[in-house]
């Protein structure tokens, strides 16, 4: 078990390094420079490049970034807020916290709504409840989250005036409602479908039949025996779910005017602010890769059938 975890951590670190290298290369391939403005002279460009180390060979630049990250230094913004350390921009100005808060709440909604609905649908398989839930979850995964967001905004905030239209920095509880719903709806529907399928799968298994034969009550069979096993696919989905929520947040943040990490990332690409692009990508990737790692480790505890050698399958 210990060996497996060490191996997985090593693999995750490798992936993160790979992401860093790729991002760095891709970023440098973007035409344009952070210092390019209307009346920049060649000398000024060269001076600026020298000052921020952009004249060094790419491999040295990459090394500098990575060494910096190991020391907890995310670099200094070149353009968007010139001279400010990126860590200040991301962590202290609350951008990261905002995105994380939004993501965690949406994750909770996804799991707390999706799983029970999936169970209910499986429990009432073929009944009208199942059909209604099926229709809703199928619709839910067909509507893009920006449409949900704008419709909620239009109806609840502007027409009915029930909720604040600009969520801003998410200061009160009300301002969370619409962003979280529009971010979590797609995934909640997906998880509901996933749970229903795996639940039905579990119900047809032999151990459920044995439990039935032993005379256990249906509720107990479903919620104690079948549910545990049918949650495994949901746990596997947590990794992609985290990635989806963090990146889906980009659109939601744009729509609701929330100054989070996603919006910041998009504008940093457009502004060619290299250290900010690097740092944001690394932080978000670390989050997603870390979640994948966590899921892999949880997985081995939840499902003892999985081999711990790391080879899988």
């Amino acid at each position: 078990m210990f060996g497996y975890i060490v191996k997985r951590i090593a693999a995750s670190v490798c992936t993160l390094l790979f992401v860093a290298a790729i991002t760095f290369l891709v970023m440098n391939a973007i035409p344009g420079s952070p210092f390019l403005e209307e009346n920049t002279t060649v000398e000024q460009m060269e001076l600026a490049n020298e000052k921020y180390g952009l004249d060094k060979p790419l491999i040295v630049q990459l090394k500098n970034y990575l060494v910096g990250y190991l020391h907890g230094d995310l670099g200094t913004s070149l353009k968007m807020q010139k001279g400010t350390p990126v860590s200040d921009l991301i962590f202290h100005q609350g951008k990261f916290v905002l995105s994380i808060k939004l993501g965690i709440l949406a994750l909770l909604i996804t799991v707390l709504v999706g799983v029970p609905l999936g169970c209910i649908a499986a429990y009432f398989r073929g009944k009208w409840i199942d059909n209604v839930l099926s229709v809703f979850s199928t619709l839910g995964i067909a509507i893009p989250n920006f449409v949900v967001a704008t419709l909620l905004l239009e109806v609840l905030a502007i027409r009915l005036g029930m909720l604040p239209s600009v969520s801003g920095s998410l200061t009160d509880v009300k301002s969370y409602i619409m962003p979280v719903i529009s971010l979590g709806l797609y995934y909640a529907c997906y998880v509901a479908k996933l749970t229903r399928t795996s639940m039905l799968d579990a119900i047809n298994q032999d151990y459920v039949r044995t439990a039935k034969a032993k005379g256990l009550k249906t509720n107990k069979i479903i919620f104690k025996h079948a549910l545990r096993n049918s949650l495994i696919p949901v746990i596997t989905y947590l990794g992609p779910l985290t990635a989806g929520l963090m990146c889906g947040g980009f659109v939601i943040e744009t729509t609701f005017g929330i100054p989070g990490l996603g919006r910041y990332f998009v504008s940093s690409i457009i502004e060619r602010d290299y250290p900010v692009i690097m740092a944001t990508t690394i932080v978000l990737s670390a989050l997603v890769i870390g979640m994948n790692l966590l899921v892999d480790i949880i997985y081995t505890f939840v499902d003892p059938r999985i081999t711990l050698t790391g080879k899988g399958e």
Partner: protein, 448 residues
């Protein structure tokens, strides 16, 4: 007739069968071999299953309706997706602009009205020169000495072939105050004469127009076409790359398989949306440069699509093939160890025969399902990028970019968001349902 008794199958020795050990089959024996019912092929069987699936069939019909809307619609709607029609900005659904309203009134009273070219929504402006009109197999030719602004040509059915020209600025209370008879000749038009086409009716702006006067229905049709094409091409790219790599990985095994699987693991754990955003910005500009300079045929074809769309394809080719490769590899590995493949090998079949006759036909169901489900995800990705403003660029439109355009004046003109959003959602919904239906039809083992 000597009969060979086989008590023990090991006794069977073909070399020992006597020469008269065979005899012609009798008629009754032959009858058993006659095909009683036509054998049902895999696809026919799958179609039968799909056909009986009501949800999937409804989805298929709705999907086909959307395809017809997108591809055949422009034949009926006379507006183009990029033209900004004069005086027609910010019209609601089914509304007409002032000048169109006038055209409609004139059309009700006069028998036929002609306009130059086929530009709808802007009234006629005739420059100096020769013109001809074809009506009832007669060609009327006339020439104008000076340019006329806001003119209409009225063809009077009752008075046989009397052509008059009226100026619409003089159009009041259902009548033209100045109607000048037109001097015309009947016969062959001169070579540089322009044709004036007849307009029988003014087509409504069914979904309204946007703030620059572009018809939203024409744009929706175009956007649906763009989204569909993006979805299908991206899915095909994923299919080709994923299937090839997956098959190589599964068939070769060993080191090749190991390396490919590690690469797949790596790509899967990269947060793809981040990379897509980065790549999208990176690829677009060099692509545009390449399109501008290259004379290669492919570059020309792709420049019609625009760098935004092509970079979506590149991103799909780089990052999204992994799940397809996994599916194909899994299938190939599973099939490779099946008895019928072993039997085929024992019978002396080569690799080529095994791949084309056994592996491919057995994978094809899975491939079709995965490809079909890939289309909506590509459409989603495109709309996501266009919504953030880095996908399809104006004047091109996709459903995502139309949604994004609608945001600025959402409260005043909600239909500008609703029209493309509903089409997008229905498209994705039907494709998902068709995919599920295909899964049940092509892979009945999965159905519970």
């Amino acid at each position: 007739m000597p009969i060979i008794h086989l008590n023990n199958p090991k006794d069977l020795d073909f070399l020992k069968i006597p020469e008269d050990g065979f005899s012609a089959a009798s008629d009754s024996e032959k009858e058993n071999l006659v095909e009683k019912r036509k054998s049902v092929s895999y696809w026919r069987d799958a179609w039968r299953r799909f056909h009986s699936n009501k949800v999937a069939m409804t989805a298929l019909i709705v999907f086909l309706a959307i395809v017809v809307f997108a591809f055949a619609g422009p034949l009926i709607v006379p507006y183009s997706y990029e033209s900004q029609y004069r005086n027609s900005a910010k019209l609601g659904p089914m509304e007409y602009s002032k000048s169109e309203e006038m055209e409609r009134t004139v059309l009700q009273e006069a028998d036929a009205v002609f306009f130059t070219e086929t530009i709808m929504g802007s009234l006629l402006s005739l420059s100096k020169g020769d013109y001809y009109i074809k009506q009832n197999n007669t060609t009327y030719c006339f020439s104008l000495e000076k340019a006329l602004e806001k003119a209409m040509i009225i063809y009077n059915k009752d008075g046989a072939d009397i052509l008059t020209i009226g100026l619409t600025k003089d159009y009041k209370n259902g009548e033209f105050t100045t109607v000048t008879p037109l001097e015309y000749t009947i016969g062959e038009p001169s070579s540089d004469a322009k044709e004036v086409k007849m307009i029988k009716s003014v087509f409504p702006h069914v979904f309204g127009t946007d703030s620059s006067g572009r018809d939203i229905m024409a744009r929706s049709m175009y956007g649906t076409r763009v989204s569909l094409i993006i979805g299908i091409i991206a899915a095909l790219i994923v299919l080709v790359i994923g299937a090839a790599i997956g098959a190589i990985s599964g068939l070769c095994g060993g080191v090749v398989d190991f390396v490919i699987m590690r690469i797949i693991d790596l790509i899967i754990s990269i947060p793809s949306t981040l990379m897509v955003l980065l790549l999208q910005v990176v690829i677009s500009e060099p692509l545009q440069k390449w399109f501008d300079t290259s004379t290669w045929g492919l570059a020309r074809a792709m420049s019609d699509l625009g760098p935004g769309i092509v970079s979506i394809f590149i991103v799909f080719a780089l990052l999204y093939w992994v799940s397809m490769a996994r599916i194909v590899r899994g299938q190939v590995l599973q099939l490779k160890s099946m008895e019928f493949i072993t039997a085929e090998k024992v019978l002396g079949a080569g690799n080529k025969r095994i791949i084309t006759r056994h592996l491919l036909p057995n994978c094809v169901g899975q491939l079709v399902i995965a490809t079909c489900l890939q289309i909506p995800s590509a459409i989603f990705m495109e709309s996501f990028l266009s919504y953030l403003g880095i996908g399809v660029a104006a004047p091109m439109a996709s459903l995502g970019s139309m949604c994004s355009d609608a945001l600025s004046a959402l409260s005043l003109y909600p239909y500008r968001l609703l029209c493309p959003a509903i089409i997008l959602s229905v498209l994705v919904l039907t494709l998902n349902l068709i995919g599920d239906g295909l899964r049940d039809a092509l892979d009945p083992r999965l159905k519970k």
